[in-house]
Amino acid sequence: MSRTLSAPVTVAFDYTRSTGPVLGRFLTGLREKRVVGVRTSEGRVVVPPPEFDPVTHQQVDDFVEVADTGTVTSWTWVPEPVEGQPLDRPFAFALVTLDGADAPMVHALDVSSPDQVRTGMRVRVRWAEERVGAITDVACFEPAEDAPTGSAIELGDLGANPVTGVVTPVELDYQYAASPEESAFYRAIAEGRIIGQRCPACGKVYVPPRSACPADGTPTTDEVELSHTGTVTTFCIVNVPFLGQRITPPYVSAYVLLDGADIAFLHLILDIPAEEVRMGMRVKAVWKPREEWGTTIENISHFSPTGEPDADYDTYKHHL
């Protein structure tokens, strides 16, 4: 048995960003198979265009159009591409100075081995078939040894439908490990037990357990088995629907202080109308059928009233 429990976790979010006038022009151009750069105060044509001049710090406005052919100024081999890169087979990342530009841009170069790349080689943009106004409208570069040299021209009209925003999906995969104390907690939960950890210095009992006592920083050492009954210290009635909600509102989300514990944890209070839930109410864990148990807090379906008299405020006032 490994020391800790772990599970794959994927964190994903689609970042939506406005582009502003400079990057908006650049991305609109890509959608139209045109590469837009900007001439800086030093007279250098830079692609992708910086939003502000690197020397004067004024907003740039001298837009030019450069060729979709260019020259490799540096490159590196990518033997093991990662998810999301322009090509899913080994390729080169390259710095390419497009004809008419004075500064290189980073993008992928589709070649099948490092033998086929060299600094100084001529390349051309391979345009994506479907273009949306994003850097990925350039699918990659491809070798173009015979491509004639192009130059910069004044930027003409880019059409009536400028790009004003981009959506960049980001997805990261992790193998997320629990701490040894959390692992012990989840292993116990899988057997129908609730365990916490006691701080050897201040005696406080934490559930779920933590590696160190948050009050004094002392590593927790003693495992403590806890009761399945406890007291509602504070609660809220959830009335607002949200994505992924599993229960129809209104319902109660509450802090439950298990008997013998010094920190309350969040769970659902069901089997009682939401408006009847109150501070001090005595509740007990309701477990799912044993065959559904795993190493998860969801083994406890919810907490339900025990019917005992409410706990005295003094018994939980330090746990609010």
């Binding site: 992708p48 990261l172 160190a212 920083g217």
Partner: protein
């Protein structure tokens, strides 16, 4: 300026940490080592500052969870940077300079192995023109290495010499996760990985944590026989665009070094996660040939994210504590291809 010195340091490095990315489990013993070195308890620490990132941990507010390792009753004066803890040290040094506190404990932590590190780091790039291509860290360093090779500034042999010296020196470093030199010829005979980089040119993916104690004036003298007094501390950044910088140079490193002052430095611990970057840094920092560079083995022997830089400072400070050197330099970098650089110089006084 107040006199401020490094008086405590502890570190852990490993290939794969079998534990929670909150790293509380790693930090508790590191803090204990710092308390032992200084004779202090957490109540003697005036300010806490950490460096870490939720992108590495794969969870939100990981730095808040890590505060458990301190113990916060009564409440503590605490801050955080999403950068290498070397920058957290800078914040702590400034905090002491303000006169508000006399002591600080700085820490960093990161479990790089929880995700695909070189991919995760793409998220620090320009979100419009770079991140959607997921240019990984190794590739960006490869573009930089090739630019220097093509310009005749270094070659594969010079890179292998850096790697061989680092891995040989790392044999004496109990914390190094990659160690064992061979010969330049043997290294050059190994296969290319991300041409022009071989695997030994790239820092290993490393998990770890580190902690460092700062103290002002007499507070430092009380707890350390030979404190490493900070004589200069400065950081600068270059533009993030890979196209508008000369990748063979690092103007921000040069400026930071000039501001910190490198006169008389005997030992320099440089945070160069790729072999050629040490060559860039030596030039930009203007280090003379007789300066001992990375006696710990440097980042090529172990580079835990968010402490790879602070560990350089700690290794440099140890040289002062031990009396091996009088003037030392620590450097840390962040961002793609040496974009951001911080330099701290320290000295021992008799």
């Amino acid at each position: 300026m107040r006199e401020v010195a490094v008086v405590g340091f502890a570190q852990r490095q490993m290939e794969e940490f079998d534990g929670s990315p909150t790293c509380v489990e790693l930090l508790v013993p590191l803090f204990a080592e710092c308390y032992e070195q200084t004779g202090w308890s957490r109540r003697d620490i005036g300010f806490w500052c950490s460096g870490s990132s939720d992108y590495l941990a794969g969870r939100s507010f990981s730095f808040v969870q890590a505060v458990d390792a301190i113990g916060v009753i009564p409440p503590v004066n605490e801050s955080h940077v999403e950068m290498d803890a070397a920058w957290a040290l800078y914040e702590a040094w400034l905090k002491i300079q303000t006169g508000e506190v006399d002591t600080a404990l700085v820490y960093g932590f990161g479990k790089s192995s929880a995700g695909v590190l070189r991919r995760t780091l793409s998220l620090q790039l320009d979100p419009y023109t770079m991140t959607p291509l997921w240019p990984d860290t190794v590739s960006l360093a490869g573009l930089q290495a090739r630019a220097g090779i093509d310009a005749g500034l270094w070659d594969e042999r010079a890179m292998a010499e850096v790697a061989n010296r680092s891995l040989t020196d790392a044999e004496k470093n109990e914390y190094a996760v990659r160690k064992g030199g061979s010969s330049v010829e043997e290294l050059l005979a190994r296969p290319m990985y991300a041409d022009p980089l071989r695997k030994h040119d790239c820092a290993p993916v490393t998990d770890g944590a580190a902690a460092m104690v700062l103290a002002a004036g007499d507070r430092a003298r009380e707890v350390c026989d030979r404190p490493a007094w900070i004589t200069g501390f400065s950081h600068y950044v270059d533009p993030i665009s890979m196209g508008t910088r000369d990748l063979t140079r690092s103007p921000s490193a040069a400026r930071a070094a000039a501001a910190a002052g490198t006169e008389g430095v005997e030992v320099a611990e440089l945070h160069a996660p790729f072999s050629h970057q040490e060559l860039v840094l030596k030039r930009e920092l203007g280090l003379a040939d007789d300066v001992v560079v990375n006696p710990s083995g440097g980042a090529l022997a172990g580079n835990p994210m968010f402490t790879g830089g602070l560990i350089r400072f700690g290794e440099a400070a140890k040289k002062v504590w031990q009396g091996d050197a009088s003037r030392v330099l620590g450097h840390a970098t962040s961002g793609p291809a040496l974009q951001q650089n911080i330099v701290c110089t320290m000295e021992g006084r008799n």
